[in-house]
């Protein structure tokens, strides 16, 4: 197993950006560019609720923990789970400071409604992989909580999901080590992207600058 320096860990939240658009991820995580739009502000607002590390609830067999920092040495990623629910279960694992055995299930807060594409999905899978590695357990499901429908949706985690996440992270690391921002593949997703103004994906479809200058000079 390759041992990554913690300094070089990739951010778990980036997997979702990466699967949404490789260029968006690179602009944010390599070039450190950011611009808010309505969607990101809504997201921030929503996470303010979840992001209360000191808040801990215990209800019967359930322990709810917020803003839990996680990492995976194997993948070289780090991040924060919005909410992790620990359910008392005889097949579970011991937890620091708790009696009995528990199984963890991450719950990721999302603005809006359930989405058709699976860029969100991989983020949840990566959280699961971090928790499995840190707690030495197997997790088969996780949840999204969608703000607009005020409902959670169960997500079954398969081996194929884990393979896909590993592949994404390998690819991310490849770009990251070369500091390389891939070119934009413009598409309908660009319309909802908060980095549209920074990326300007259409520029690549314009004519060459030298022909622009030549034609103006020869008017």
């Amino acid at each position: 197993m390759k041992d990554y320096n913690e300094e070089d860990y990739l951010l778990l939240s980036g997997i979702q950006h990466f699967n949404f658009c490789r260029r968006q991820w690179a602009l944010i995580h390599i070039e450190q560019q950011w611009e808010d739009n309505v969607r990101t502000i809504e997201g921030d607002h929503l996470h303010r609720k979840a992001d209360q590390p000191a808040l801990r609830e215990k209800r019967g067999d359930k322990l709810v923990v917020r803003a839990l920092p996680v990492q995976s040495r194997e993948l070289g990623i780090t991040g924060i789970c919005d909410v992790v629910e620990f359910i008392r279960d005889p097949d579970g694992v011991p937890l620091a400071g708790e009696e009995g055995l528990y199984l963890p299930f991450p719950v990721e807060y999302k603005r809006g409604k359930p989405k058709r594409n699976d860029s969100d999905h991989s983020q949840l899978v990566a959280q699961v992989m971090c928790l499995e590695e840190m707690l030495v357990c197997d997790i088969h499901k996780a949840y999204f909580y969608y703000d607009e429908i005020k409902h959670r949706v169960e997500v079954v985690i398969t081996e194929a999901d884990r393979v896909r996440v590993r592949a994404s992270i390998n690819e991310m690391r490849h770009y990251f080590e070369r500091n390389h921002t891939p070119k934009a593949k413009a598409g309908p997703h660009c319309l909802s992207c908060s980095l549209n103004n920074i990326c300007v994906p259409d520029i690549l479809n314009k004519r060459s600058v030298s022909s622009y200058i030549e034609s103006r000079l020869n008017e």
């Binding site: 920074i198 520029i203 600058v209």
Partner: protein
Amino acid sequence: MKKLLNTLFVTLPDTYLALDGENIVVKQEEEILARYPLHNLEAVCTFSYAGVSPALMGACASRNVSLTFMTRTGRFLARVIGEDRGNVVLRKEQYRISDNEERSARVARNMITGKLYNNKWILERATRDYALRVDVERLKKVANSLGETMKLLREVEQLDILRGLEGSAAVQYNSVFDDLILQQKESFYFYGRSRRPPLDKVNALLSFAYTLLANDMKSALESVGLDAYVGFLHRDRPGRASLALDMMEELRGVYADRFVLSLINKKVVNDKGFYIKENLAVIMDDDTRKKVLKAWQDRKQDKIMHPYLNEKIPWGLVPYTQALLLARYIRGDLDEYPPFLWK
């Protein structure tokens, strides 16, 4: 394209700016004079002595609202900048180009091409629009000569040669600039550029417009992650925003000079709005400064078609758009830097 937001200019001398929730409040003594929501603002520019609260500075920095302090006469004093955007990859490439004469020249020559092109068309336009008022032959001659120089520029790879060509083109353009003043000629005239201090009203207006443009340019460069202080044509000098000055070359004529000419030709300003100091330095009075700022803001809202992007944008976004295009060139997405070639 990004949205153009408002700039708040604070011209009352003794007002204090503070943060109240999501608003800027403008105070005099303890009285609140005005209140503006921060989210509508892109920039705050204050000519006041009294200052700005640290909380407001922080709020501006974290929201990318640029905050600039000016003297009463419109000279730049300071800007408040938030945490640096950590785009080191882009910046390092900018520094590499800046350290390399040929690479610098390849960018700078396009900026100068833009300057000459735009100045040429200011003159061509005057001969067309005011054929009966101006000396058409004289203006045409300079315009043609600027056109010839422009063609030479394409192949230049030495900055000194570039500066030489730029310098002689500037002399020619300045020699006919006075011809473009069509109204109030007895009080507004241009013999040549004077800066510190400006010695006539036209120069006072030009200096002020260049300062405003330079501020917009600096903010634009920073917002796309470039270092406004490391240039290609203007070499490094501590405290000088060389890249902002480089980028301004192509916009001086088309953005600032034309703006000043229209203030005079449309009689937005007049002879009485200036006072002359003992040493002949010319200074705008408060009322004129206010009128100029108002006109500047209005101009920014006017829509144009960007010649390279073929996209309709407000004039006020031209500095940002050019900064973005430069960043794209430095990053390797474009084959050359596309100057703003305005006709």
